[in-house]
Symmetry: C2
């Protein structure tokens, strides 16, 4: 989508610190991390938010969840991590391209 920051990162028009680049999903580090490890898991397909997803997107949404667990292992935060989606400005969503926050790395 034009003028979408995440679409531009996905297309390589803006830089992203990628930790995963798959066929339908990418993951890159949040530039303003709110945890020691803070990665955004982002479908390449543009959705404004979760309300924008439909039945046909079910497999993609499931893949994001499995990928979150896989990345948690790769990033060595699998002992304690959160997967979070903020939906709507009032819930803290700042970029209106669906993305899941993978957060971890806190000292235990």
């Amino acid at each position: 989508m034009e003028d979408c920051l995440f679409c531009k990162i996905i297309k390589g028009e803006l830089p992203g610190n990628f930790v995963y680049q798959g066929k339908e999903i990418v993951a890159f580090k949040d530039t303003h991390p709110s945890a020691p490890v803070h990665v955004l898991i982002v479908p390449k397909k543009h959705f404004a938010d979760l309300l924008d997803a439909e039945k046909e997107d079910q497999a993609l949404l499931g893949e994001i969840q499995l990928l979150a667990a896989e990345l948690a292992k790769q990033l060595k935060i699998d002992k304690a991590f959160k997967v979070l989606v903020n939906n709507g400005r009032g819930a803290g969503q700042a970029i209106f391209h669906l993305h899941y926050h993978l957060l971890g790395g806190w000292k235990s």
Copy 2:
């Protein structure tokens, strides 16, 4: 799973304030809400956490995400809501049966 609080709620052996009861997923109100609306979306199948899910569970995990959006609409919190999974004790997981928190209803 024996001695699992959420399995007991799913089986009706313990009370739950259900907002949704589907074939594979249920949703019930959190007894200690941390937002004005706080619902737990729980697969009937017992997973300790997201790390316990496998490729064959992809559709189920996707269905949970779509259901979160649907319940947000039904509960009239679709303008602003969060969907969160805490994975591991250090991330705040207290019940070791995979569950997604649907949070919303904050005053705007």
